[in-house]
């Protein structure tokens, strides 16, 4: 197992290198000129050319690429072309809202969706099952921004239970943190509950038809014990996969949710950087997102082994 993990970590290096190359080339092929953006609307072409030279954007592409790679190897991801702020500092300041949202959303979603999915499978064809499926369809179908606006309108504007927008670090205190993370969490949770509950129900239905479940019932085990110990554990692999991918999706940016609730997360940072052609920021954020996917996939694979002893990696 340990060897497998090491092997996966080493395998990630060429993957990251390939992502870096593709991102770098795609950005250079995209129309737009950071120097023109930096200079402003009234700048003349001559002034823009001067700024372009100063930023090194006139250098050959291979020089720019290896300069960037060499910087990263030394832990220097560069500075924003616009603000001059170090890229790592910008990303670090945007990590907390995104990670907070991801953790609260996934935790709440799992707590709600897995029992719902189990119950729906257990009570297949009943009103409960249909209700869970209806909830699932609604969760998938209603755009996140609509749910967000409804949440704000009701809980923030009407009842005044929560602020409309913004983020406060948990280091500022639990109350201000919860005030601001609750509504975006609830908004995203509906989507993830729909996804996880559906997968849980489908997997459970498959397992509940297996012979060993019938055997468990024949042994006289309680319904709860059969469901939780024998059925749920055996259908945990697809559930874990969906949870892992869902987590990675949030980390790599939920722009609409971040915009509606004005959360200064990685999604907004990415969009802003792309619109401003802020190359160092875009490159670093996309590399980070790739890294998150690699790590999450590795953790999912490790979880498989823990949850299902039949799975072995060579």
């Amino acid at each position: 197992m340990f060897g497998y993990i090491l092997q996966r970590i080493f395998a990630a290096i060429p993957v990251m290198g390939f992502v870096a190359l593709i991102v770098f080339l795609l950005l250079r092929l995209t129309p737009g000129d950071p120097a023109a953006i930096l200079a402003g609307d009234a700048a003349t072409p001559a002034q823009i050319a001067l700024i372009r030279t100063r930023l090194g954007l006139d250098d050959p592409l291979y020089v720019q690429f290896f300069s960037w790679i060499w910087g990263m190897l030394r832990g220097d991801f560069g500075v924003s072309l616009l603000s001059g702020t170090p890229v790592l500092q910008m990303i670090a300041s945007r990590m907390e809202p995104t990670i907070s949202l991801a953790l609260t959303t996934i935790t709440l979603s799992v707590l709600i969706a897995v029992p719902l999915g189990v119950i729906a499978a257990w009570k297949q064809g009943t009103l409960i099952d249909r209700f869970v499926m209806l909830l699932s369809v609604v969760g998938f179908s209603v755009p996140v921004f609509v749910i967000g606006y409804v949440m704000i309108s009701f809980f923030a504007m009407e009842l005044r239970w929560f602020p409309v927008q913004g983020f406060r670090s948990i280091t500022d205190g639990l109350q201000p943190f919860l005030e601001r993370i609750t509504l975006p969490t609830l908004t995203l949770t509906l989507l993830y509950v729909a996804l996880i509950a559906r997968i849980t129900r489908t997997s459970m239905l498959e397992i509940l038809g297996e012979d060993y479940i019938r055997t468990a019932h024949a042994k006289g085990l309680s319904e709860t014990r059969v469901l939780m110990r024998h059925a749920l554990r055996n259908c945990s692999v697809p559930i874990i996969t969906v949870i892992g991918i869902g987590f990675a999706l949030i980390i790599s940016g939920v722009v609409v949710t971040e915009s509606v609730f004005n959360l200064p997360g990685l999604g907004r940072l990415t969009v802003d950087a792309v619109l401003a052609r802020d190359y160092p920021v875009i490159q670093a954020v996309i590399l980070l997102a790739s890294l998150v996917y690699v790590v999450v996939n590795l953790l999912i694979d490790i979880a498989y082994v823990v949850l299902d002893p039949r799975i072995r990696y060579q």
Binding site: D33, R54, S83
Partner: protein
Amino acid sequence: MIPGLSNMLGGLSRPVVLMAATASALVMATPLSADTLRAVKHSALRVLDPIMTTAYMSRNHGYMIYDTLFALDENMEAQPQMVDSYEVSDDGLEYRFTLRDGLMFHDGAPVTGEDVAASIARWGERDAMGQLLMSFVADMGQDDEDANVFVMTLSEPYGLVIDSLAKPSSNVPFIMPARLAANTPSTEQVPEQIGSGPFRWVEDEFQPGVVAVYEKFEEYVPRDEEPSWGAGGKVVHVDRVEWIVMPDDQTKLNALMAGEIDYWEDASADLLPILQSDPDIEVANLNALGYQTIMRPNALHAPFDDARIRRAAILAVHQQDVMDAMIGNPDLYVLCGAMFICGTPLESDVGGQTLVDGSGQDQARALLEEAGYDGTPIVLMHPTDVSTLRTQPVVVAQALRDVGFEVDLQAMDWQTLVGRRANQAPPADGGWNMFITNWVGADVFNPIVNNMVGGQGSEGGWFGWPEDAPLEELRLAYAKAPSLEDQQQLAAQIQEHVYEQGYYAPIGQYFVMTAWRGELEGVLEGPAPYFWNIRRAD
């Protein structure tokens, strides 16, 4: 219990209701600090040097932390700001400016004539009006005997010295320490944010794209006069100002109505009825000069290398159509053929009547026929990601088609347009024929600051690059004009000439409303947003 909550929870058990009430008490929104002004601006602050860039957010940042030698008041007259007094020699060649006592930078250093000279020199490298001023300056610097005096010596008399130093919009001649201004090329950002303005930059709390924070500069000594635009006393009544970035208009609206922010600089026209119906919100147009939206042909390439075809394009357009589609609400725009903005001393309708009354289409068709227009498609760049720029190209394209133009309306994002418009190649090789943009009125309100009435050509001219020596002579004559009457006459001549040559056309003048919480008092009007003089009512 919160009104309405008991009804909602009526069907729930008592413990659940108690839990909900406890939760609501726990998470009730924290009230705003009375000493902090929270404002949502039109965009995010990213570039911190208002000399290096012409971006309006950087200009606004400049007004917070820097001060200016002079500033325009609401009558558009230049008034001393950092300057206490000044003298002009009888021959008009020497200007001696004495600075006010007590001026101090945020690092504690006094403001001297050396700082002023270095700042003006750097601004003069970058800004069009500054460059013209510098072309008249033979020498400038701190007085040998008095560090509080700045002396500027001209090579010949120039009528716009004070107007140049009072320039209200990008680039504004802000004064910064000589150690920064003299050692930082104008194509690089200054490494520190040190000014002598009424607010101090809070470096540690700056998050690009999220928030910019300013604190009151306690040592700032305001003038005694009443504030008027950028002139007069800059008295700060709050401890701290936060510029919060919010990408979504609906969120801004909700946050303002809920009292989470105090000020929304560019309230969305669609949401104005909601804001105006809220008794706790004030809504007003703070910038009487408004914005000018313009169309700019590229004079380098066919078919717009022919003045008749450029003129035909302008004759094809009716401002009413553009404004109806872009703004809709007639209270928020005026039809105005004046290149130097309606409502300014240089306002003139010469040459622009067809834009206002929409009567130019027949002339346009005749001109196209006379010029032998061969159907070459007009590459009109269409930025679809900027709400204030996405409508006009569609209307203009249709107007051009109506008189016989072939139009290739190319959708792109604004930053692609910004990069592409610097390309002087033919449209087939990545160039372009026409684009549309918007200007703050103060950036186009005279022939020196208005980039589109220049004739410098492809070397040094603004995008579109017409080369026109007589036009440059007219601008120079305007710069030297001894009186307002002469300036008005020359500005009208310039406007007439530019219309005849079809170098550019204003296709509407519109206004953006600002909304703020009703408890705020003293919100100032002006060509840029100012944050001094604002206080929270008791």
